[in-house]
């Protein structure tokens, strides 16, 4: 009897190990409280939404910095490439591209951009080859981010060193356009 019980406990513990690993690996796919769902409740696809920390609301940014204001935009590359543009002219901005599970795929700062203006394109490797073949005029100065994903999130953070910068930063963040573009072949001119 004792031998049978200890055998059962052993099998149970091995099973617990297996269940542990299965839950751990499947959790990112099954989580309903992830950043994507959180954002989906705030704004539709391709709409730029402020995600600065509000008391009471569930946090969206890891370690939300009180000196940083941020906006987010969800995109779906099956509808076309995602193009983000904004005027720039703030002390600092940085951008991150996240996949559907909220993992940071790519990040860069305003140093990467031409003349400090925000202008970048997120595209899948296949779309990238299509766009490269005939680069549309509007993307001449854009930063291209190649990401092997369909759905994703872009977050743009901007520094507010003190309160006097807040209107300027708010104008920059509210002026950011996030849209889906179907790349069309450029004209022959």
């Amino acid at each position: 009897m004792l031998r049978q019980v200890s055998y059962a406990v052993l099998v149970g513990l091995v099973g617990a190990g297996i269940v542990h690993i299965v839950i751990l690996l499947r959790l990112p796919a099954f989580s309903e409280r992830d950043a994507w769902s959180n954002l989906a409740a705030r704004a539709p696809l391709y709409q730029v939404a402020r995600i600065s920390d509000r008391p009471g609301a569930p946090a969206l940014l890891q370690s939300p910095d009180p000196f940083v204001d941020a906006v987010a935009c969800r995109f779906d590359l099956t509808e076309g490439i995602a193009h983000l543009s904004g005027p720039g002219g703030v002390p600092f901005w940085s951008a991150s591209v996240y996949d559907r599970n909220g993992q940071n795929i790519y990040s860069f700062t305003d140093r990467t951009a031409t003349s400090g203006a925000l202008d970048f394109v997120v595209a899948t490797p296949v779309q990238m080859t299509e766009v490269r073949k005939a680069l549309p005029q509007e993307f001449r100065a854009s930063v291209f981010v190649e990401a092997p994903l369909e759905e994703g999130i872009v977050v743009i953070r901007s520094l507010v060193p003190d309160e006097s910068y807040r209107p300027e930063v708010a104008a920059f963040l509210d002026g950011i356009a996030c849209r889906s573009v179907l790349p069309e072949p450029a004209g022959l001119d």
């Binding site: 149970g12 370690s63 909220g102 990040s107």
Partner: protein, 214 residues
């Protein structure tokens, strides 16, 4: 019956029911252990503060891989469960300290001095937070518990001294409200240290306890 000798109190009424009951209860035990133990252990593992992939520099702890595809499965599951978007490595690097340089837990009842030089970065921010890294509410203090490199005063050798205290202090003052534990969160933005040279070689300022009120 060969088994009769095993039942000194007499033969059971239904000879087949006991082994079956035993099989069922053993199976239930195995299933309970496997499912319950597996689920609980994941829950505990994700709740643990110390994670895999932590880089500690003095009292400051950072998780550079957190929220990236290179992170370990525990960090990935934690990120998905909390639904948090982490700062990209090209954007900056976040450090958190819940202890001073001598290993004592940080308390809002105590006064601390953060002293030393900060690594090269476009700018840095420092704020006092709760356990989930949200800035503490000012609670009647004239300023919020946050400071950045653009407003900090430096000594001639570029080093800094920041007073972390409830009482107003000349120089750099990080106003800490209320009572209880706290976490100091330091973020270096656009720092070359995050990418190539290796984070563990960074030098970060020390946190020294000056005294406690209570």
């Amino acid at each position: 019956m060969p088994a009769a000798g095993r039942y000194p109190g007499g033969r059971p009424r239904c000879p087949s029911s006991r082994p079956m009951l035993r099989t069922v209860s053993l199976a239930a035990l195995i299933l309970t252990l496997a499912v319950g133990g597996g689920a609980l252990s994941v829950y505990w593992a994700l709740g643990a503060r110390e994670g895999v992939g932590a880089v500690a520099i003095g009292p400051w702890v950072s998780f550079p891989d957190l929220g990236t595809p290179g992170a370990d499965p525990y960090s990935k599951a934690r990120i998905a469960r909390q639904g948090l978007l982490s700062l990209g490595l090209a954007e900056g690097l976040t450090f958190a300290a819940d202890r001073d340089s001598d290993g004592r837990a940080l308390s809002r009842d105590c006064r601390y001095e953060i002293e030393g030089t900060f690594p090269p970065a476009r700018f840095w921010t420092l704020y006092a937070a709760d356990a989930s890294h949200r800035m503490l509410p000012p609670q009647g203090l004239p300023r919020r518990p946050a400071l950045n490199s653009l407003e900090a005063l430096r000594r001639q050798d570029n080093s800094l001294s920041i007073a972390v205290a409830r009482q107003a202090t000349p120089g750099n003052w990080l106003a800490v409200p209320g009572n209880g534990p706290m976490v100091l969160v330091l973020t270096l933005y656009d720092t070359p240290s995050a990418s190539s040279a290796g984070i563990a070689d960074l030098a970060l300022p020390a946190i020294r306890e000056i005294g406690c009120d209570a």
